[in-house]
């Protein structure tokens, strides 16, 4: 085995467990990702606090007659306008953690926290 091919063999040999580890981590993340349901009812987010992992999904559903939004206070994410009966689904990223509110009714507040 030349030094080049030995180096390639070693590189490949090291890459395999790394790839397996990454694959395994992704598998675990996928397996443990959760679906969180947040109702918007009576001018409140229910629940107000949602404990999430990156990769989880959140579905907001507006049960009120009034249109609402769920919008991060820093403006990084937004469900857009949800009319009565409409839902929006977002996949959680680390940047999404923090307080959110309804842009139409600013007294309606909630928060995403890392679990």
């Amino acid at each position: 085995m030349t030094s080049v091919s030995r180096r390639r063999f070693l590189t490949n040999a090291m890459a395999l467990p790394i790839a397996l580890a990454v694959f395994s981590r992704q598998g675990r993340a996928h397996e443990s990702s959760k679906l969180h349901e947040v109702d918007i009812a009576n001018f409140a987010f229910v629940p107000e606090t949602v404990s999430v992992h990156p990769g989880d999904r959140i579905v907001w559903t507006n049960r009120d007659l009034s249109p609402h939004t769920a919008t991060s206070e820093n403006g990084d994410w937004d469900t857009g306008e949800l009319e009565q009966g409409q839902s929006a689904e977002l996949t959680v990223t680390e940047g999404m953690v923090g307080p959110f509110f309804c842009t139409f009714h600013p007294n309606m507040k909630g928060q995403l926290v890392l679990s």
């Binding site: 007659l65 009034s66 009565q84 842009t103």
Partner: protein, 174 residues
């Protein structure tokens, strides 16, 4: 001048309560539905005026919310009436509301900048207080149809949020 206009606006909004003497408790469900539809449309008109005149972002956001929410309530009311095979009935009380609204709109339209913003916010607070009192204490207890009553209860919840929002707006403008 500003104080006179403001007083006139508050008095006109409060006349909702005075008009109770003409007998809103005696209205039937379809007349009450017409009054509510009229009251919604009046607030939508105030909001359109605010969007035409005000440059204040807080006022503009509030006005957009008024249009969005009151249109949603009116759509639900029309859908319910359609389902019940009924039609809202015009009445003296609805007409009084419209006449008062014309006066308020005429006065508001003469104002600009901060004067308009404060008058609009103050009127919104007084208007929602008067409407909420009427809906909660006069209309809801006297509505016969359960579905109509449920819709009014939903509407009241929305308008109470508006009243709180208007109160915050008035405080922030002072």
């Amino acid at each position: 001048m500003k104080a006179i206009i403001l007083t006139a606006l508050i008095a006109a909004a409060a006349s909702l309560g005075e008009a109770q003497a003409s007998g809103p408790s005696e209205l039937n469900d379809l007349e009450i539905a017409h009054v509510a539809y009229t009251a919604d449309n009046i607030d939508i008109r105030y909001a359109h005026l605010a969007l035409a005149i005000s440059q204040n972002p807080e006022i503009r956001t509030f006005a957009q919310t008024m249009i969005r929410d009151h249109e949603a309530v009116n759509e639900a009311a029309l859908a319910l009436l359609d389902k019940l095979g009924a039609q809202a009935q015009d009445n003296d009380f609805s007409q009084t509301l419209n006449q008062n609204a014309e006066l308020i709109i005429n006065d508001l339209a003469k104002l600009r900048a901060e004067e308009f913003d404060m008058a609009y916010a103050t009127n919104e607070l007084a208007y929602h207080k008067a409407v909420n009192d009427l809906v909660e204490n006069t209309f809801i207890p006297s509505i016969d149809n359960d579905e109509v009553k449920a819709l009014f209860q939903q509407g009241l919840e929305i308008f109470k949020v508006h009243e709180g929002h208007a109160e915050t707006m008035v405080s922030s403008l002072k």
